[in-house]
Symmetry: D2
Subunit: 341 residues, 4 copies
């Protein structure tokens, strides 16, 4: 059994790491930190984990025991770059944004502050296994991509990589469940605000935009430009991204589906189908559902992807990366069947 | 008091007509029909209407009394064209699709059947008061537009009309609550299917597409072409349309907002603001919320509109049209404050 | 038109007063206060009210103009008793708990603090029109009952008053939507906490308990004793109370229904039926739905009531009381048809 | 690996069996039947299972291969008794009601029809492991209890068994998510009917009533009598039962909690705590949460339990029973951490 630590265990991504690890045959969570909730029992903060972790208490991160095999960081933007330089672990898996962008100049533009550890950026590989598996295998440090980024990148990558759509002028219109906004009570995430509501947010400026562009550019070699509009849907989990791009050639829907299917033929966590994806089919699982259409009337390609933002969009993908990094079977501990209904 | 009839009272649009008329100072519902539920009391089918309509029973439409001032039809596609030719009433307000499109050739393409009363098409005016008020005032027959059409048309009309965006290549990406699918129990509208789910449907082929194009073309004179992707959100009511178009000039966000505000300056049911619209702010009211942005980085204009699909998107707009057609104050009986939360 | 003020306009009950008054033929809101949001526009705090109140800004309560016909207070427990002694108005309608209980000794027990204006308690009448209409007509000060209290009292009152059930040993098991907890963001009212969740709270100690007992005792003359268990349901609005009492005689279900129907025969806002009430039928309206059963097998009477906690359970009932107090038609401005679905 | 069959795979309980078995280390699903959906792929009917079961098609039950180690039946009431007599399998685990009640005379009263295989009733053990583990270990045929029955029985059993509450006059007031009503589209389970709604149903006559009484009587030896009122909450999954009973002695809340904790001290799937249970903490897991209170003021004991109706209330418990019956570790394949949020 590998010994694991989680820095940032009070948030949803941290809790989801614990849930998934409770069924992982080779991962044993031995340390969980929280600044805001230090001293609380995991079972009090998350009754859903009471039966699985009756005895773990949240501690300050500095109490982390030495020599852990794997350490996950599930922290707000900006927090990891202060901790990682001081951290010793076999493998560091960061679920935050601090080590995702390869260009430190993008941080002040999109995150509003200079990066304080830019020299570490190139030590992190980008944790999207379906696109960059070889980088992740055996890696010492992995930056797991954001939830919207994972969805849009997996949806568009085969089409952009094959040159079937123009890499510029792409629109990504996506909707997410509310858990993406985190656990903290805020006016915009109360039940009364969100329930029976559908709205857009972060118009033109959402921080996942440059990350999508970077992931697709790195994978395809093309200069990708995306307008990204996120929406908030009245549900706990799930992201669906509807992506619009201009076709470069005459490939019809069947040809586009074939390209997409071929790209993911051996992927255990990707389902490509003519059926329209829905977030609910992915709930609680590490599975992504994808489809694509071409509209000859208006000259657009529409590609759609769906996943669970806390699993394949965060903690599940982090465990997938940890499996790859530490040499465990890539699928270990990761559900592929969704909780339905 | 004007005497009203409702043909198709068992569906949600019919029920919403009854709800709104129960507070209308000059409208009195005296007849309600239903084929499928004939013989049932309104109060049994809709307990929400029990206190307002304790004594009205649903009857076959042929039992309609002669000489009604206004008759609403709230029927499935294809049903109105069989009834309207036999109908006598001061004003006919059709909430269905049968008399919306001005070109009968569009019906086989988008609805799958020939129109059986094409000679009546030009007797109907298009019931979108903010764009075609003069046509509706005093009209004998009004075809009320679809819910998505109302949302997208009101959102885009000022920009297209002023020539600020290209009329072709527009993407309308919209999400609706489930009431748009009607009252009948179907596998895709059960609670277990819809709750905690977000999905797309009707890819490339949704019937509201040509209606949007027609409405915007008629209002602006330009040849509008739209790719429309509807989504289903886990909520009862509400539509939010996020519309993407290419700017023709250099107008920035403020200039676009000014154009939009000026276009609707005197409209009692339209709120233009920099704030991002949300469906929930419109619940139960006849109000539309609109905004717009320009993204210089990628060269897109993003315009967003929200409304209640059963009020401004159906029954409220039908009453607004009936008010105009019958010479009553346009705002009579129509709530402008939303039910929140 | 009567000139109205609302003290405490930033909360849900205050917003609901504004929504209902926007359709009231004789009430004109001229002043709205908020301590926490002073300076904000109503339209910014509640976009749902933007079209109805484009020009009203929230002010500190001390800025209230003199000589208002009616002043509503919609404040947290304990706040009204500090303001009312300084307030001049034709009629004071308090939606809070400060003047509901007739015995000042109950406040330290259930609310945890001494009452600071006990001498005013007997100036307030209890604002439950169906049980105490004569007290409210023309009253200068009305304490509107709590949402759970209104539901349970209207459900049980005919049975207790007629002596058909034992007044002691009653169980009231009720569920409420989340709006009852107010607008403020709190850990227990985030969407992620509440959605897809059903739980109990306030076990044995909910503050509405003594108010239910007082209302039923005052109406029936009997010494009523209730165990009250509230639950939180994942919905915005609505309360359903399922009440269990022991029958005193042999009256069967039909006889109990007859007694209940007769008691409310002339009430415009009460529907008694064999149909099981549901909260959704009452959404946005001032209507209450009631039913009752007798189980011979186990010797219990089960009575069930449902209403909208923000309308009949708060602001609608407050307007009903204001109508009665100020001599306006009791039903003015109050919807009786629910927003469905 | 044990070879498994599922008869009735198109319903929610069947799908949940497949989900759970996809993570079970020793169970391999080789056959799934459905009468209504024969010929469909599991992946088409349940996209959530597409990645886990890409190749299984639903067949008529008669196509079941011989010699399966375990066969689950997940069928509507009345269907199992026609099939079981013809079935050969190592262990038969029935999730339906046909073999739960030990007295065949109860079937016509509560289910409306005579039992057609009463001679098989005593071959089935009652599959509630926490109360009847010894019966289930190695059993050839297990009747898994209903979801409400599991909740109420586990909540009340320690108190009734210890004689701390009166076994008669008990009220069980419970709320369930909608998945309990099954997959078939029906007027009362559409999203528009259920969402934002809370209602009661099955007043006085719910079929789980005699099963609760039987389970508690068999466990405690006392003659238990229960009035059971189920409610429908707007959520997919979860049951919370709030149970009211009269105390026999003077044991306070702490003493009652101690009794409950001691009874379940060694149970891997039961969490007893002073915290109030919530359905959401149990989502997707086989865990039950319990608490209890005594109210001296009114003389009631209130005990509350929560679980996931499709896991511990159905398919999870069925697998727990199958593990016990077939000699596998009781906890194999069963999640104890809930999916949160």
């Amino acid at each position: 059994m590998k010994r694991l630590g989680i820095i940032g265990g009070s948030g949803f991504a941290g809790a989801e790491l614990m849930r998934l690890c409770s069924q992982h045959p080779e991962f044993d969570v031995v340390f969980v930190s929280s600044e805001s909730q230090a001293g609380s029992a995991v079972a009090d903060l998350y009754p859903s984990l009471a039966a699985a972790y009756p005895d773990i208490f949240l501690e300050p991160w500095e109490a982390i025991p030495p020599g852990l095999d794997i350490v996950f960081l599930a922290l707000p933007s900006g927090a990891s770059q202060a901790i990682v330089p001081k951290l010793q672990a076999g493998h560091i898996i960061d679920l935050g944004a601090d080590f995702r962008l390869d260009d430190p100049a993008l941080y002040p533009i999109w995150y509003g502050h200079e990066h304080t550890a830019p020299e570490l950026l190139d030590q992190f590989v980008f944790g999207l296994p379906e696109l960059f598996r070889d980088d992740i295998a055996g890696a010492g440090a992995v930056a797991v991509p954001g939830c919207y980024v994972t969805t849009a990148s997996l949806t568009l990558a085969p089409l952009v990589h094959a040159g079937l759509v123009e890499p510029r002028g792409i629109v990504v219109d996506a909707a997410s469940g509310v858990s993406g906004a985190g656990r903290t009570a805020q006016p915009n995430t109360t039940f009364s605000t969100v329930d029976e509501n559908f709205t857009a947010y972060g118009l033109l400026t959402h921080r996942h935009t440059p990350e999508m562009e970077m992931a697709l550019k790195r994978h395809s070699g093309a200069g990708v430009e995306i307008l990204f509009t996120p929406h908030l849907a009245p549900m706990n989990r799930g992201i669906l991204a509807t992506c619009y791009a201009r076709p470069t050639g005459t490939e019809n829907t069947d040809a586009l589906l074939d390209t997409m299917s071929a790209a993911y033929a051996d992927e255990p966590f990707v389902v490509v189908s003519e059926a329209v994806p829905s977030t609910k089919a992915t709930l609680g699982s590490n599975t992504v559902h994808l489809t694509v259409r071409r509209d000859d009337r208006t000259g657009w390609v529409v590609a759609i992807g769906a996943l669970d933002n806390l699993v394949k969009g965060a903690s599940g993908q982090a465990i997938q990366c940890a499996n790859l990094a530490s040499g465990v079977s890539e699928t270990a501990g990761l559900p592929i069947a969704g909780v339905y209904p």
